[in-house]
C-alpha cells in the first residue's frame, strides 16, 4: 500500500503547487528543484557554519518527457566546492538506478555531468561532501543550470539554507587546528582519540546543558527520595507483618532490578496506561523512586545501628515511640547516614546517564551524539570530567564527615565555647564502654556501608542473664 507513496506525494505536491501560497509557481521546467539542505557542522550544535566543511544535498525531479545530462549548482560568492566529493543518486520512486558521472568544481559552482542521461520521472539527488558555504554566513540559495536535450536551462532557485558566520568557540577551535603542538598531540593515536583539544573545547560548551539537566534531575529527585525512603524504612521496622512485607517488597524489587529496566518500564509502561508526563519529569520520578529504595535500606540500617540503650533511656523517661524516634533516634541516624546518603547521591547522579537510553537529553546523550558525529572518544572524556566536577567534591565531603563522626564517637570531638579540663582517660573509658556494647550490628546490605553504621549495641538484656 505504501508502495510508491513517495512518488505519489511528489506528484501530488506538483499538482497542488499552485494552490499553496508558500510554493511559488514555477515556469514549466525539465528539472524541478525539490529541495536543498546542508548538514549541520557546528561542533556540538546544529548550525551550519560558513567557511567550514559540510555537506550540501540537492534534490530535483526530472519532468516527463525530459532527460538531463548535466547539472551545475551555484552558491553565493565565497562558497567553495574545492576538494569536495559528490555522490549521485537517481531514483525512480524508491528504486535506485545505476548512474555514474563526474563532478567538476569551479569556484562557487560545481558541474556534475552524467555518463547516462537521467531519465524522465527520476528523483535526482546530489550529495556534495566537504564543500563550504561563505564564511560570513547568511541565507544561501542554490541556483544553477542544467542541460537537457543539448540546451542549457536555468534551475529554479532552492529555498534558502540558513548558514551562520563562525562562532567565537569555533574560531578557537580553528585556532587550535593551526597549532603545531595540537597537531603533534593529536598524532598520538591515544591522545588524539581520547583527549583531542579541539573536541574537548567544543564538548565542554555543548555538554553543559546536559550536565545541568543531570544535576537538575538528581537535585529535584533527591528530596522526594529521602522522604519516600524514610517512610519505607519506618514501614520496614514496623511491628506489623503485612506492613513490613509491603516495605520489603518495594525495597527488594527496586534494589533487585536494574535501574535500566525501571526506566524502560516507566517510560514505556506509563504512556500505555495513558499517563503522559514530560520526559524530564519522568526522569526525576524514576530516579526518586529508585533512590528511595536504597535510602530506605540506608535509613533502616542507620536506625537499627542506634544502640538499644538509647531506646531504653528514652522509654525510661516516659517518651512514646514517636517522641523517641523524632527526638532521639532519627537525629542520631541522620548524622550516621550522611556519608552513605551522600554516596548514594553520587550514585544517583551518575545513574542519570541511563536516562539517555530513553531520550532524556542529559550529559551522556550529548556526548554520545558528539561521539557519533566526530567518531572520537573525547566527548566521553569531557562528560567524565563533568561528572567528576560534582562527584569529587562530594567524595571529599563524605570522607571529611566520616572522619568527624569517627572522631566524635571516639570522644575527641570539637570543644564547646570554653576549654575545659577533661579526664585524660575519657577517651579510653568511652572506648571500653563501646567495646562492651560491641556485638556487630546486622551489617546493612547498603552498597557502601560506612564504618559509622557498623557498631551497634548488643541487646543489654543479655548482660545480667548470662
Amino acid at each position: 500500500m505504501q508502495h510508491r507513496r513517495g512518488a505519489l506525494l511528489v506528484a501530488l505536491a506538483l499538482a497542488l503547487s499552485g494552490v499553496f501560497a508558500t510554493v511559488v509557481p514555477q515556469p514549466a521546467q525539465a528539472l524541478t528543484t525539490e529541495k536543498a539542505t546542508a548538514r549541520p557542522n557546528e561542533d556540538g550544535g546544529d548550525g551550519v557554519i560558513g567557511g567550514m566543511d559540510t555537506r550540501l544535498t540537492w534534490e530535483g525531479t526530472v519532468e516527463p518527457g525530459e532527460e538531463v545530462t548535466s547539472v551545475t549548482l551555484t552558491l553565493p560568492e565565497g562558497s567553495t566546492f574545492e576538494g569536495s566529493t559528490t555522490r549521485i543518486t537517481a531514483l525512480e520512486g524508491l528504486k535506485r538506478m545505476d548512474v555514474t558521472g563526474e563532478a567538476v568544481p569551479s569556484g562557487s559552482s560545481i558541474t556534475v555531468s552524467f555518463d547516462q542521461a537521467i531519465p524522465e520521472g527520476s528523483l535526482l539527488r546530489l550529495e556534495i561532501t566537504n564543500m563550504q558555504f561563505p564564511s560570513a554566513g547568511g541565507e544561501c540559495t542554490v541556483t544553477g543550470t542544467y542541460e537537457a536535450a543539448g540546451a542549457t536551462h536555468e534551475l529554479a532557485p532552492s529555498d534558502p539554507i540558513s548558514t551562520i558566520a563562525n562562532t567565537p568557540l569555533q574560531s578557537m577551535v580553528n585556532w587550535l587546528d593551526e597549532q603545531p603542538w595540537v597537531e603533534a598531540w593529536n598524532s598520538n593515536q591515544f591522545l588524539g582519540m581520547f583527549l583531542k583539544p579541539q573536541l574537548l573545547l567544543t564538548s565542554f560548551a555543548s555538554l553543559a546543558p546536559g550536565w545541568l539537566l543531570c544535576l537538575g534531575i538528581v537535585v529535584a529527585a533527591y528530596p522526594f527520595a529521602i522522604a519516600i525512603g524514610l517512610v519505607f524504612a519506618m514501614l520496614k521496622i514496623s511491628r506489623w507483618r503485612v506492613v513490613r512485607a509491603v516495605a520489603v517488597t518495594y525495597i527488594n524489587v527496586l534494589r533487585g532490578t536494574p535501574l535500566f529496566l525501571q526506566i524502560y518500564i516507566m517510560f514505556f509502561g506509563l504512556p500505555m496506561l495513558n499517563i503522559n508526563i514530560d520526559n524530564n519529569l519522568l526522569g526525576i520520578i524514576v530516579v526518586a523512586i529508585n533512590s528511595s529504595a536504597y535510602l530506605a535500606e540506608i535509613f533502616r540500617a542507620g536506625i537499627q545501628s542506634i544502640p538499644q540503650g538509647q531506646y531504653e533511656a528514652a522509654s525510661s523517661l516516659g517518651m512514646n515511640y514517636v517522641q523517641t524516634m523524632l527526638t532521639v533516634i532519627l537525629p542520631q541516624t541522620v548524622r550516621r547516614v550522611i556519608p552513605t546518603v551522600t554516596s548514594d547521591f553520587i550514585t544517583a547522579f551518575k545513574d542519570t546517564s541511563l536516562l539517555s537510553s530513553v531520550g532524556v537529553m542529559e550529559l551522556m546523550m550529548f556526548s554520545k551524539n558528539l561521539t557519533t558525529v566526530t567518531g572520537n572518544i573525547t566527548p566521553y572524556v569531557a562528560a567524565g570530567i563533568f561528572y567528576l566536577i560534582v562527584t569529587l567534591p562530594l567524595i571529599k565531603v563524605v570522607s571529611v564527615i566520616e572522619e568527624n563522626i569517627a572522631r566524635s564517637e571516639r570522644g575527641a570531638g570539637p570543644r564547646p565555647k570554653r576549654r575545659a579540663q577533661i579526664a585524660d582517660n575519657a577517651d579510653e573509658l568511652v572506648g571500653q564502654a563501646a567495646k562492651k556494647d560491641g556485638v556487630a550490628a546486622e551489617v546493612s546490605a547498603v552498597a557502601a556501608p560506612t564504618a559509622s553504621l557498623a557498631p551497634a549495641s548488643a541487646k543489654e538484656v543479655a548482660t545480667d542473664v548470662c
Partner: protein
C-alpha cells in the same frame, strides 16, 4: 522492644495480688526488722513485688521474687552476675515484661498496662543505666531537659532552670554545654543521674551505675548517689557491687542468687551476720 522479647514459656500460676491495705499490713509486719528505714504506721509500700517470675526462652531467671520498697527507702540489691537482680530492676519500669506475678507501684498494678499507660507510669520511675545511655547528639543540659519538655511538657525556661539546678547538684554546672563524648564516663553517669532526677520520679532505679567506670571515677558517682539518698529522701533501688556503698547508705540489703531472694535485712545484719551460707560466701569472696 519488649514485644520482640516476648516468648512462649510454660505458664506459671500465681495467686492474684493482695488487696492494698492487707498487703500494707503484712508488709509492715514483715519488714520491721529488715530495714533501718523509719516507718509511719498506716503507710503503704511504694513498690510491691509479688510472686514475680521472668523467663527468657526456657531459662527461668526470676523465681517467685517478693519484695516491698517503702517511700524514702534505699534498697541495695547484691548478688553474683546472672542472679537476676538487673532483670528484676528492669521489670519495675517494664523494660522487661514479667512472665508472671505482680508489680504494683503506689498500689497500681503495672504488669497489665497498655503501651500508653506504661509510658505514663515510667515518668514516675527513673532509671540510671550501666552504660549511661546519654543521648550523644545533645549537650549535657539538653539531655536533662528533653524528658521534661517532651514528656512533662514543662516550658523551655522551666526545664532549663531545672536542668542547671540538677547539673549543679551533681557537680557539673560548668559542663552544661558539653556533648557526652566530651565528658568522662563518670561525668556522663552524673549527667544521667541528673537527667533521671530532673523528672522528679517517685522511685529511682540504678542498674550497676559504676560497673562501666574506671575505679578512680567511681567515687564521684557514688558521692552523688549518697547525697541523693541522704538529703533528698528519694526512694532508690540500687543494683551494684559496691559493698561500701551498700553498707553505708542502704536501709536494706537484698541478696539474690539464681533468681531468688536468698536473704534480706539491714546492712550491718547481712554483712556481719549473714544467715545464709551462700550470702556469707559471696560477701566473703567479694570483700
Amino acid at each position: 522492644m519488649s514485644a520482640k522479647l516476648r516468648h512462649r514459656a510454660p505458664a506459671i500460676e500465681v495467686p492474684p495480688a493482695l488487696p492494698a491495705d492487707e498487703a500494707a499490713r503484712i508488709a509492715y509486719e514483715a519488714d520491721q526488722g529488715l530495714t533501718s528505714h523509719a516507718f509511719t504506721p498506716g503507710e503503704h509500700p511504694i513498690v510491691r513485688i509479688e510472686h514475680l517470675n521472668k523467663s527468657f526462652d526456657e531459662t527461668l531467671v526470676l523465681k517467685d521474687v517478693n519484695l516491698n520498697v517503702w517511700p524514702g527507702e534505699v534498697v541495695v540489691v547484691l548478688g553474683p552476675s546472672g542472679s537476676g537482680k538487673s532483670t528484676m530492676l528492669r521489670c519495675i519500669n517494664l523494660l522487661e515484661r514479667p512472665s508472671a506475678g505482680h508489680i504494683l507501684i503506689e498500689d497500681e498494678e503495672i504488669t497489665n498496662k497498655s503501651t500508653a499507660e506504661v509510658n505514663r507510669l515510667r515518668r514516675d520511675v527513673g532509671m540510671v543505666f550501666q552504660q549511661f545511655n546519654l543521648f550523644p547528639h545533645l549537650t549535657a543540659k539538653e539531655n536533662v531537659m528533653i524528658g521534661q519538655t517532651k514528656v512533662l511538657r514543662r516550658s523551655r525556661e522551666e526545664a532549663e532552670a531545672e536542668a542547671l539546678k540538677q547539673l549543679a547538684a551533681v557537680g557539673l554546672a560548668d559542663r552544661a554545654d558539653f556533648k557526652p563524648a566530651q565528658l568522662s564516663g563518670g561525668q556522663q553517669q552524673r549527667v544521667a543521674i541528673a537527667r533521671a532526677v530532673a523528672m522528679h520520679p517517685n522511685v529511682l532505679l540504678f542498674d550497676e551505675p559504676t560497673s562501666a567506670l574506671d575505679p578512680e571515677l567511681v567515687r564521684g558517682v557514688l558521692d552523688v548517689m549518697r547525697d541523693l539518698a541522704e538529703n533528698s529522701g528519694m526512694t532508690m533501688i540500687v543494683v551494684t557491687h559496691e559493698m561500701g556503698f551498700a553498707r553505708d547508705v542502704a536501709d536494706r540489703v537484698v541478696f539474690m542468687e539464681e533468681g531468688v531472694v536468698v536473704e534480706q535485712g539491714r546492712p550491718e545484719k547481712v554483712f556481719d551476720h549473714p544467715e545464709n551460707a551462700r550470702t556469707a560466701e559471696f560477701l566473703g569472696s567479694i570483700k
